[in-house]
Amino acid sequence: MTSSTQLRPRGRLVLSAGRFTATISPRGVAIGLIGLVAVIAVAVVSIGYGSFTIAPGDVVATLLGGGTTAQKLIVLDLRLPRILVALLVGAALAVSGALTQTFARNPLASPDVLGVNRGASLGAVAVIVLGGSGAAGVPLAALGGALVTAAAVYLLAWRRGVDGYRLVLIGVGVGEIVNAGVSWFLIRAEIVDAARATIWLNGSVAGAEWAQARPLALALVVLLPLAVATAFTLQALQFGDDVARSLGVRLRWAQLAVVLTAVALAAAAVAAAGPIEFVALVVPQIALRLCGGSRPPLIVSAVLGALLVAGADLVARVALPGRELPVGLVTAILGAPYLLWLLIRTNRRNT
């Protein structure tokens, strides 16, 4: 290539170092930064809000190591883990959704088509209904259900390689079987257990502690860089398997890496907070419509996902005095109208 400027996509900056080249969209960077500021603002307000109100200035001081003993207890031990779980779950689900939608080349694909949420739901509901309602039992059962179901989907879809389209269809089929299992458990359960299961199925970060926040944070520290590292592969995969192969992508390994990362991210999130499926579906599409481009941007998706779930959690605590809504419900109530508005407003051509 004689001149890289000739090939530069409109509205993007090209960075290159040796043989590696990346393009960056200033618009995406701006949206990401605005989102990040909003995330921090929501987190500070959310930590300050509660039966014992703490001013934003004191919250920041406490987070940075100051504050009184009481403030430290409330901020660091009680409220911070919950906010962290909300932020991390949002980021994990959004990135997982962006990966799946690009891989499957389908805006309706979410980690759920890989069986993650439904598998997790079956595991959790089975444990709730069959009795072992220990605190550790439900998240572990959810994690196990998610991973087993996703593995089953991948293996069933394997036929001398995995085709994105076949994977998605098989995932839908497996998901329906698992879903029937959930319905069956809900019908044969005592109504008390069915109600408890329904609460879990709506997704919630209430009562999250460091015990949930730590493993989730660890998972994300490993998985998010992996997801970003697959970006080149994704760039190629969006044109179809044959084009990707001819661009030099080692297709099987690339696909496996993308799918594994997406599944692991979603499974970590669902084990911590229950199935908040909507984030994975809608946030990548919102990010895509805000930033432009041909596929959902990963980092902006992560920021917006964190913002949506943390914001929804704040609304869930504030909306009804004396009682909390499950964050999964509020996520949809906040996110869905925004996507609808974006759809009407955006002049991007989507054919």
């Binding site: 389908n106 805006p107 309706l108 694909a109 088509v113 069933l156 879809a157 036929r159 001398r160 085709d163 389209y165 076949r166 998605v168 269809l169 098989i170 839908v172 089929g173 497996v174 329906e176 079987i177 879903n179 029937a180 319905s183 069956w184 809900l186 019908i187 109504i191 008390v192 069915a194 109600a195 329904t198 609460i199 709506n202 398997d241 909507f278 579906l281 809608v282 599409q285 809504l325 499950p326 999964g328 419900l329 509020v330 949809a332 109530i333 996110g335 869905a336 109208p337 996507l339 609808l340 759809l343 009407i344 955006t346 002049n347 991007r348 051509r349 989507n350 054919t351």
Partner: protein, 343 residues
């Protein structure tokens, strides 16, 4: 004249004719099975007798005329409706993951049924009009948003608007249920989907809507073939896009709305059946839609009949059987064909 080269040569016309006839025969067999199998198995002779020369004192007459006939008729109607609506929906969104519920139909119906439950409407027949109204309003809203988007109701805007609306409505539904265990107790049985326990009046109420829906679906088929080539090509072929979309969406709403109102959301049927039917007929919607409708009826009746047998004397809800039996079948089918598949 434009000739289209398909990836796989389309089955020749007379073979598709036989497919259609074969599916009709399969519906007939499924109807007989549905009438005869249950807690008490009846012979074809007894069925014939109960239908032609009813003897009020014979138990078989009561079983057939009061229980199994209404149930079977509803099964045929709902199966036709969901199978046909599924083919239309996947055609209009050009998305293999689209099901008839995607327009917000099942979410809208569920929301209104929960409201009906909370206002003390106690019977399945009472829910019908609530469910139908919910399905209608939700899908109108979805279509309105998609049509309002720049570029009109394209496949992607339709699908995304449907997803967003469905999520919004089911959040409202769930928030109502969270505060109210009594409603949850009723709702959890409705939401599984079943054709049992509905009287013949239910079929009579939804039949006209399904009939009109099926006619509209068949009328829409040629336009859908053109739209399948992409909107620009379709426009160049002289197809008017918006009227075709409106007819298609109206048919989907009538079919899936009526079926959901009568049976609860058995939406999964509309997702898998078009994939099965496409194997038999190829992508031509003039054949795909009728075959998909018939296959839907066969599958729904078989699932319902199986549900009466597996847990005898208890019954397993049709929706659950359908997923447990239909999904593995669907998976096997998807696995059998190598390489990429397109709509």
């Amino acid at each position: 004249m434009v000739t289209l080269r398909l990836a796989r040569p389309a089955p020749v016309a007379h073979r598709r004719g036989w497919t259609l006839i074969g599916l009709m025969a399969a519906v007939a067999v499924a109807v007989v099975l549905s009438l005869s199998i249950g807690a008490q198995t009846l012979s074809p002779a007894e069925i014939w007798h109960a239908l032609t020369a009813p003897d009020p004192s014979a138990p078989a007459t009561a079983i057939i005329r009061e229980l199994r006939l209404p149930r079977t008729i509803l099964g045929v109607l709902a199966g036709l409706a969901l199978g046909g609506a599924g083919a239309l929906m996947q055609g209009h969104t050009r998305n293999p993951l689209a099901d008839p519920g995607l327009l917000g139909i099942s979410a809208g119906a569920s929301f209104c049924v929960v409201i009906a439950i909370q206002y003390g409407v106690g019977s399945l027949t009472g829910y019908i009009w609530f469910a139908f109204a919910g399905a209608l309003l939700a899908s109108l809203a979805v279509f309105g948003v998609a049509a309002g988007a720049r570029g009109g109701p394209t496949p992607v805007t339709l699908a995304l608007a449907g997803v967003a609306m469905s999520a919004l409505l089911s959040s409202f539904t769930q928030s109502l249920l969270l505060t109210d265990d009594a409603s949850l107790n009723v709702f959890r049985f409705w939401v599984v989907g079943s054709i049992s326990g509905r009287g013949s009046d239910v079929s009579a109420q939804v039949a006209p809507f399904i009939a009109i829906g099926l006619v509209l679906a068949l009328v829409n088929a040629p336009a859908l073939n053109a739209l399948g080539l992409g909107e620009d090509v379709a426009r160049a072929l002289g197809q008017r896009i918006l009227p075709a979309r409106i007819v298609g969406v109206a048919a989907i709403v009538l079919l899936a709305g009526a079926a959901t109102a009568a049976c609860g959301p058995i939406i999964f049927l509309g997702l898998i059946v078009p994939h099965l039917a496409r194997r038999l007929t190829g992508p031509d919607h003039r054949w795909l839609i009728p075959c998909s409708a018939l296959a839907g009826a066969v599958l729904l009746l078989i699932a319902d009949t199986l549900g009466r047998v597996v847990l005898r004397p208890a019954e397993l809800q049709t929706g659950i059987v359908l997923a447990a039996v239909g999904a593995p079948f669907f998976i096997a089918l998807v696995r059998r064909r190598a390489g990429a598949v397109t709509l």
